[in-house]
């Protein structure tokens, strides 16, 4: 062992790109705000709405009420005594016991509520929770990756909302505030976004609320299209096939049993369709200086805000059944959304467009990538969506590999614009992946024995966790190698150009209009289809 032997453990970079450092639970032994540096004056500690614990725990309360209430009702309707004879003597004890349990849980709710406090100040949002095991979380405002306002049905009835604040952490939401009054939630979102954007706070009135950024609706998905997209999903295809198969089997074997198997399957399917419909209903996208606003939901509504430049990678897909109708789906990777936690919520949050036309897709692309980095965005991106061979400047898998990828070799390919790398694949399940150069984390070339024999290699771009996995499959080795070098250079340049995380600060003084109209990218002008992009809905 030498003196220089390294100690195990991380050498964390100061302030490193946020992923590890942005949201850290601080072990708060001194929970009072006075002991927190920077929290002295400019942000007061606030509590969430008193009704929140009951809205969160309503399922448990409703279940208890249902079981006891039903018994009570039945007995009183039938004219029987509320308690059995032998229990009646102990009724007072039972009532006292039940009352204690209820009291303790209500007290627990109240204490939880009392000790949950939040504060926005000094470039941080802080949340204190817990009364036995206290936790203080703080998240840096300029690291905000996304802000969601979620309203479950019950909260919506009471005019409350939950605010979710994501920083670049793959795990759970950095900060969840449940529940606030809807207006307070909106106000807090506006404040956080304004601070995150670098809007200067008036030093004379630091308490003055930030105005909410104006927004402009870009598209909405009509319900009939949503229903159509659900009916034409792969799931429906298997439903039809499964249904036909069971009818045929039932007829062939003269047995009725198959129908019984269908009942639970049908219930599950109905629930699944309902979930997708409930989540996707009334989907609208709007643009504001704070970024892209997505709203959706029938009973439970959700409003997401994705600040500019927070989308790490994007994917446009088209299943074969959607092709005749020209529909597409768009999904994104956003740091902080992480991998899909539970199917419903997670996939809804990473969906940028559940179902849309080509014009919608181009409109959304213009929002995500205001500068497409090419003079002919419609041609290049159009070729990425539907093209084959070298349309739009795509470089495809060489012809000699057609035995490895008999269908895909004409479609597998990439094209690089000045701002993003486009990877397209899939003859049947068409897919276009777009990765902005400045979002590339790292990349790798892969080559297995068979690929080496054919002289091809795969290029994988690493991005934050999410539904998009950018991979260029089976490019000629020399092409992949050249792209590997070029992409490293492009990403380096793009990183240099990007100066600050506070997006409004990036705007050159004297050009304030540029900040409020991020839509006005070159993508907006060229094609006739795109011009109707903003008129949908």
């Amino acid at each position: 062992m030498t003196a220089e032997e390294p100690r195990p453990g991380p050498a964390a970079f100061p302030d490193a790109g946020a992923a590890a450092a942005a949201a850290q639970p601080v072990n708060a032994s001194q929970p009072t705000n006075a002991s927190q540096p920077g929290s002295a004056s400019d942000g007061e500690w606030l509590r969430v709405h008193p009704a929140s614990p009951f809205i969160r725990g309503w399922v448990a309360l409703a279940a208890i009420a249902f079981f006891f209430g039903r018994d009570f009702f039945e007995r009183s309707l039938q004219g029987r005594p509320v308690f059995e004879e032998e229990l009646a003597g102990r009724a007072s004890w039972l009532l006292a016991g039940g009352g204690t349990v209820l009291l303790v849980s209500v007290l627990g709710f109240l204490l939880t509520w009392y000790f949950t406090k939040y504060q926005v100040s000094g470039g941080y949002v802080r949340v204190n929770t817990g009364f036995l095991f206290r936790q203080q979380r703080q998240a840096r405002l300029d690291r905000v990756q996304a802000i969601d306002i979620v309203q479950p049905l019950l909260a919506r009835i009471f005019g409350l909302a939950e605010l979710k604040f994501e920083v670049a952490d793959a795990g759970e939401s950095a900060v969840r505030l449940a529940y606030l009054k809807i207006d307070d939630a909106r106000q807090l979102r506006a404040t956080i976004l304004a601070r995150a954007a670098g809007v200067a706070v008036d030093p004379a009135h630091p308490e003055e609320p930030s105005p909410e950024a104006p927004e402009f609706q870009v598209l909405s998905v009509p319900p009939q299209r949503l229903v159509g997209s659900l009916l034409l999903s792969e799931q429906s295809f298997f439903v039809v096939v499964g249904g036909i198969a069971s009818v045929v089997l039932a007829a062939a074997t003269d047995s009725q049993a198959f129908y019984f198997y269908l009942i639970p399957a049908a219930l599950g399917l109905a629930a699944s369709y309902w979930g997708l419909f409930n989540k996707g209903y009334n989907f609208t996208a709007a643009i504001s200086p704070d970024g892209i606003r997505l709203r959706y939901g029938l009973l439970d509504t959700q409003a997401q805000t994705l600040p500019p430049g927070r989308i790490q990678a994007l994917k446009v897909t088209q299943p074969p059944l959607w092709r005749p109708l020209g529909w597409y789906r768009m999904q994104v990777n956003v740091a902080g959304y992480g991998v899909v936690e539970n199917a419903g919520e997670g996939s809804a949050r990473t969906t940028l467009l559940p179902v849309g036309t080509l014009a919608n897709v181009m409109g959304m692309l213009a929002l995500v990538l205001p500068d497409p980095g090419t003079p002919q965005p419609a041609v290049v991106f159009g070729a990425g969506l539907t093209g084959l061979d070298s349309d739009g400047g795509f470089v495809t898998t060489p012809r000699r590999v057609r035995w490895l990828a008999p269908l895909g070799w004409r479609r597998n390919g990439f094209a690089a614009t000045d701002t993003a790398l486009l990877l397209r694949s899939g003859r049947w399940w068409r897919q276009l992946v777009v990765v902005p150069h400045q979002r590339t984390q790292s990349m790798a070339l892969h080559q297995g024995p068979v690929a080496r024999r054919f002289g091809v290699a795969d290029l994988v771009l690493h991005t934050t966790p999410g539904p998009v996995v950018p991979r260029l499959a089976q490019a000629a080795t020399e092409v992949a190698l050249a792209l590997f070098d070029e992409q490293a250079a492009r990403a380096r340049l793009a990183r240099k150009r990007q100066t600050t995380e506070q997006w409004l600060r990036q705007v050159v003084p004297g050009a304030p209009a540029a900040a409020t109209e991020p839509v006005a990218g070159p993508l907006e002008t060229p094609t006739p289809q795109q011009q109707e992009g903003g008129q949908y809905g």
């Binding site: 062992m1 030498t2 220089e4 032997e5 390294p6 100690r7 195990p8 453990g9 991380p10 050498a11 964390a12 970079f13 100061p14 302030d15 490193a16 790109g17 946020a18 992923a19 590890a20 450092a21 690291r143 990756q145 670049a168 793959a170 927070r310 790490q312 740091a335 400045q438 979002r439 590339t440 984390q441 790292s442 990349m443 790798a444 070339l445 892969h446 080559q447 297995g448 024995p449 080496r452 002289g455 290699a457 994988v460 690493h462 991005t463 934050t464 966790p465 996995v469 080795t477 992949a480 190698l481 590997f484 070098d485 490293a488 990403a491 380096r492 990183r495 990007q498 600050t500 995380e501």
Partner: protein, 170 residues
Amino acid sequence: MRTEAIDPSGITWQRVSPKYVTVRVVQWALGNLATVLVLSLPLVLVLAGVWAWPPLWLAATVPAVALVAALWRLALIPRQVRAIGYAERDDDLLIRTGIFFQRTMAVPYGRMQYVDIGVGPVERALGLCTLKLHTASPGTNAQIPGLPAAEGARLREQLAARGEARLAGL
């Protein structure tokens, strides 16, 4: 070491310590020998006459195949270790691994979130360490095993300094 097809041209790869072969052999022994021993159990039992069912040829073939596969993997280890290389370029660190399934990875300094150094018991005895790089992407599974401890410490400091100088947001 010859340059493979997917290696960028003009790169002089730094190789990891040849002593890392020992670490890999110990890992191999722990995994593979245990497997072979467990698979040989029926053979012993059949030979001892305790078990009647698996015919002798089957009881012998299974561990034999496992043994051959294990020996094959053992024979590959020195080449696999020689195939691990890294190179510090101006703006990124290149790491290559693999013989059959090759991978060449570029991790920009400005994207590194933190650098880990891990030392296992065998590595400690040999004065080696493993360096791990983390970016915001879990796909960046970048590690350089089998570095001499001094080189590991140097690299860590070097990467930290370069990362700080070129740090970019997410």
